[in-house]
């Protein structure tokens, strides 16, 4: 697909996203907020895993850092938890910066390891961050977490108050509606930045490092620096995603950012197709909304039982569905949904386009190629 139709599709989707709050119920608005937050996290991860080829299982740890930095910097001090009471916009920027900073601090490890080795090291990060969240309870609120100040700019709050009543075209705009537009703005900026980075000089350097570190170095790409920048950018995305999740929940707690959450991000980008920004968004829509929608409509679906009754409850069903979905995509659909869509387009138009950046090269089935004896 050439550039113009792609832009047209993006524009139509954007218009639909802008119009949706006028028709959706609160449940679907809330689901949409979670989807947009996790989509930004997934886009960041696809840059790291899909484009730069560095497996990370620690994405939820960086999201947690973003969420808690936002909660801590914008929250007011109470008897149980401290807070700095800074303006929310500053809190959001700090969330991204601190997450990126921790990513940079971790990069001596990221620069030395690659692929699954890095994935294992980042696995440790999830447990360490969780431990800190539970134990630094004067800042984080410990196990139960802490509540999060709503986002606000001077004179306008993205909550149900201040202004107390706001209506556009006869639809009352409550906190959910207002947050929706904030999230759409953040998502558009994040996706636009990610696509440009992927297709530009930085992304090509990352893809080069993914395909062959030796070749990349020979072409003048600083391998350790490229890995570090991929790690830092993806951490910043995770930080923003975490802060958005905190805003959407209105609360932060350690359990939101468990290892399962890290795996969920990986599932999103694999289903969508590694390295594809649009694929990451589609994956996020699927993985985030499936359990929520199944839970909401469980009474209407005959094969689902109420939670705790021993039958197939909604969260179990959705986990099995997307576990099977990963297996099916990896075994049958080369390049995930994005790869499948591209092949479909090629078949329909009969064109043979240039090999895109986001298709990882096929390697030999690795029989311990990474090491020699």
């Amino acid at each position: 697909m050439s550039d113009a139709p792609r832009k047209l599709v993006g524009l139509v989707l954007l218009l639909v996203a802008l119009a949706l709050p006028f028709v959706l119920t609160d449940f679907w608005l809330q689901t949409g907020l979670f989807v947009m937050a996790t989509a930004i996290g997934a886009v960041g991860l696809t840059l790291l895993v899909g484009v730069a080829g560095q497996l990370s299982l620690g994405h939820a740890a960086f999201a947690a850092i973003g969420a808690y930095v936002y909660a801590f910097t914008t929250g007011e001090s109470t008897t149980t938890v401290e807070g700095l009471g800074l303006p929310p916009l500053l809190g959001l920027v700090l969330a991204a910066l601190v997450a990126a900073g921790v990513g940079a601090a971790f990069s001596p490890i990221a620069g030395r390891l690659r692929g699954i080795y890095l994935g294992l090291a980042t696995l440790g990060l999830v447990f360490v961050v969780r431990h800190l969240l539970v134990n630094l309870d004067q800042w984080t609120g410990g196990f139960v977490g802490r509540s999060v100040e709503p986002f606000a700019v001077p004179g306008f709050s993205f909550s149900n108050r201040d202004p107390d009543y706001l209506a556009v075209a006869g639809v009352e705009f409550e906190g959910l509606h207002r947050l929706w537009y904030l999230f759409v703005l953040l998502a558009v900026v994040a996706i636009w930045l990610a696509s440009n980075m992927r297709n530009g000089r930085t992304g090509r350097a990352w893809a080069n490092v993914r395909d062959s570190e030796t070749a990349a170095a020979a072409m003048g790409v600083g391998v350790a620096g490229a890995k570090r920048s991929a790690f830092v950018v993806s951490s910043a995305y995770a930080g923003v995603a975490g802060a958005m999740l905190a805003l959407a929940y209105g609360r932060v707690a350690p359990d939101v950012f468990s290892l399962t959450a890290s795996v969920d991000y990986l599932v999103m980008i694999v289903l969508g197709g590694l390295g594809s920004v649009a694929g990451a968004v589609v994956g996020a829509v699927f993985v985030t909304s499936l359990p929520l929608v199944l839970a909401q409509y469980s009474s209407a679906l005959p094969f689902l039982a109420a939670p705790g009754s021993g039958g197939l409850d909604p969260s179990t069903a959705s986990r099995i569905v997307y576990g099977l979905a990963i297996i099916a995509v990896l075994v049958f659909l080369r390049g995930g949904l994005a790869g499948g869509a591209r092949r479909l387009r090629e078949r329909l138009t009969g064109s043979t386009p240039v090999p895109p950046v986001d298709r990882p090269v096929a390697e030999e089935p690795s029989r311990s190629k990474e090491t020699t004896r």
Partner: protein
Amino acid sequence: MSYFLEQVLNGLSYGLVLSLIAAGFAIVFTSTGVLNFAHGSVVLLGAYLVAVLHDTIGFWPAVLVGLVGAAVVGVAINALLVRNLADPNPGTAAILMLGVDIVLLTELTRRIGNQVLTLGAPWGASVVRLGDVTLPTGRVLAAAVTLVAFGALWYLFSRTDLGVGMRAAAADGPTASLMGIRLSRTAATGWALAGILAAVAGIFLTSFPAPGVAPTVALSAFAAIPAWVLGGFDSVPGAVVGGLLIGLTSALVTGYEADLEPFLGAGFGEVAPYVVMIVVLLVRPSGLLGSKEAVRV
């Protein structure tokens, strides 16, 4: 002093069980290049089979079914899924295993529910006394069985054609294949071995002093990942060293938690293995006994 000794012995025996799991990771990785994230649920599967079957067919036959079941699941995962990957490389294989783990673990969790199944092990909750040190019989037995298992593995890898073939395939697959070694067979053997080791570990992880078979067992198998990484990704002896190190660390940190809590916070025992892993990776990226990475830039 006897408290310290007890912690050390407990840590060592727990570490040996971890090293069984870690060795499974290492064997699967060297024979097929797969980072087996579903290993934890295979550990749980082995223990689950024993727990459901021991009432009807007796404990020892149930153990046999557990070991065979875990091995068969491992071989099937490799034959049906890993070998059919649309885009075979270590990254997608690792993510595939995450998918397998989600399906297996969710189904087992659903079957177990909120109950804690008992294993019906004949050694029950008995303890062994050595002077003024008390150890659960299960732990002592675990240490003995693990040592026997590693002896058997050593014999397999150094004295039998099959084991030497597996090492050759791990060192250089295509060349080994040209020498007449059937890679599909060495790969299947690797997965079967890993499954058996996982089931053995599962039985000891769920018998006394552990309460019984619960889904959290799959998570404690995750603690074997630091053990494996510490030892080196492709080294079975490394897995033993790593397992002992992690076992000792977590036993001592947990045993002296009251003294350490002011600096390290509550529940540091669960995190300590990962902290040790990150530190070791910083100093030696290929682990303590692993082979060095070939490509350097």
